[in-house]
């Protein structure tokens, strides 16, 4: 793996690791980090999170990553999986926290 690809992979893995830890702690998930696959659905049939959890995620992202999505800054598509959140974070977020 060349340096450019290794950098891309490492950046995503780091964000995913932080997201897993944040969600497990803030949502009190009874899951180990390695059980949270990157493309697992967070809502609906997947982890079964609800709208209150979505607010919790938004607040956690702002605190942990400086990403502000609580007031319509991001579309629902960003909240679908860990990877959609990670992509949002790696892209710099829809709106940076003030």
């Amino acid at each position: 793996m060349d340096a450019d690809l290794a950098t891309i992979v490492a950046a995503r893995e780091q964000v995913l690791e932080r997201l897993r830890a944040t969600l497990i702690k803030q949502l009190r998930l009874e899951r180990a980090p390695d059980e949270l696959d990157p493309d697992m659905p967070l809502f609906g049939s997947g982890l079964g999170l609800d709208s209150l959890d979505a607010v919790e995620i938004a607040v956690s992202l702002e605190i942990e990553f400086g990403i502000h999505i609580a007031e319509g800054g991001a579309s629902p598509v960003h909240l679908r999986t860990l990877n959609t959140l990670a992509t949002l974070i790696l892209d710099g977020g829809a709106v940076r926290a003030r």
Partner: protein
């Protein structure tokens, strides 16, 4: 490539399908919970009228069927893909606890399953059943006369299964078609439904499910638990932490097919295990099984070797479609006034493989 009306309808209006690939079995009796709990790899916390999306596993921990478990009073309904109704009955019977008091019925012998999917599927159904059905939550079901309606689906859009007595199926289908004419209701075959499932990152037991992969490789750990015993749990626990590959969604500008090797430079890092042309994206979408170190979204450094020709691919942040159903609100919107609303594009900017900034 000519446009497929069903694929277009599934993404923008609604399409009615024959879901005969879905088997339905009812498990009743005092031993029903114990029987289903032994089969179900997820914790069986279900209220009456709720569904749980999970798998049935073989003893080696690999998926045998893609299953919704439905709590129906003190009984359970299983809606399964990957097994026929008779095979599902036999599997339930063979794995039930010794002496369990259960009555297992192959409902597929007497009933048909129809599907209705699309961002305005709810509106077509409401025309037939009344406005009160609009608020039916996802992953629930209800009985109404002889028809059972499940709010499910594997297209990423609003979706329903209708379990209808066989003798009434043609009439029910005709009634939906009649009500659906104002909504440009199309007819979806299994290929169209499978393509939408592929685009939306739904596991397909008939495609990648035939690759003998584990739930860990398939990113399906959300459908299993490591904290209970069930058929396949020992094997799955032994595989945990020892998996070397994982699937990722990918896209290419030219044809991809299952079996194409995926390379990074001179190195083979995996293979495509499912692929199809995405009409709404205009490119080819696939599922690739890659070495875990390479199996990440947002990478444009790989190639799929199709017919001995390397094709540049990009790994995607699944799902590949920005579903209109995320934005259609039954309280606000209607298919009949859809042109008055500006919805986000079905494909996010930069998502197409033709773009140099795909993610």
């Amino acid at each position: 490539m000519p446009a497929d009306l069903a694929l277009d309808a599934l993404r923008t209006s609604a399409a009615l399908g024959d879901a005969s690939h879905v088997a339905c079995v009812r498990v009743a009796g005092a031993g029903a919970f114990a029987t289903i709990d032994r089969l179900c790899p997820r914790e069986l916390f279900l209220r009456d009228g709720q569904l749980l999306h999970t798998l049935l596993l073989r003893e080696d921990g690999r998926p045998l069927a893609d299953v919704y478990v439905c709590a129906d009073d003190r009984a359970f309904l299983l809606l399964a893909e990957g097994l026929s109704g008779d095979a599902l009955v036999e599997h339930v019977r063979a794995t039930a606890p010794v002496g369990a008091d259960v009555e297992i019925t192959n409902v597929s012998r007497t009933h048909a399953v129809l599907s209705l999917d699309g961002p305005y599927a709810w509106e077509v159904f409401a025309e037939l059943a009344g406005p009160e059905v609009i608020g039916q939550p996802y992953m629930t079901f209800f009985h109404d006369d002889a028809v059972t309606t499940f709010r499910v689906g594997k297209t990423g859009e609003y979706g329903y299964y209708f379990l209808v007595p066989g003798e009434d199926a043609d009439d029910y289908r005709a009634a939906l078609r009649d009500r659906g004419s104002a909504f440009d209701l199309a007819t979806a075959n299994l290929d169209a439904l499978d393509q939408c499932a592929l685009e939306n990152w739904f596991f397909n037991i008939r495609r990648e499910g035939r690759e003998d992969l584990t739930p860990i490789e398939l990113q399906l750990q959300w459908r299993v638990s490591y904290r209970k015993e069930y058929v396949g749990s020992s094997a799955l626990a032994a595989l945990r932490g020892r998996t070397t590959h994982r699937i990722v969604q990918c896209a290419g500008a030219t044809e991809l097919a299952a079996g194409d090797l995926v390379t990074y430079g001179e190195r083979t890092i995996g293979r495509v295990i499912n692929a199809g042309f995405s009409q709404c994206r205009g490119d080819w979408v696939g599922v690739a099984l890659l070495e875990s170190a390479y199996s990440h979204a947002g990478i444009a450094a790989y190639a799929a070797v199709h017919a001995e020709v390397p094709v540049a691919i990009r790994t995607l942040t699944a799902p590949a479609v920005n579903n209109r159903s995320l934005y259609v609100n039954p309280q606000l919107h209607s298919y009949l006034t859809r042109d008055e609303v500006q919805f986000p594009p079905l494909v996010l900017p930069g998502s197409s493989c033709a773009s140099p900034t795909a993610r």
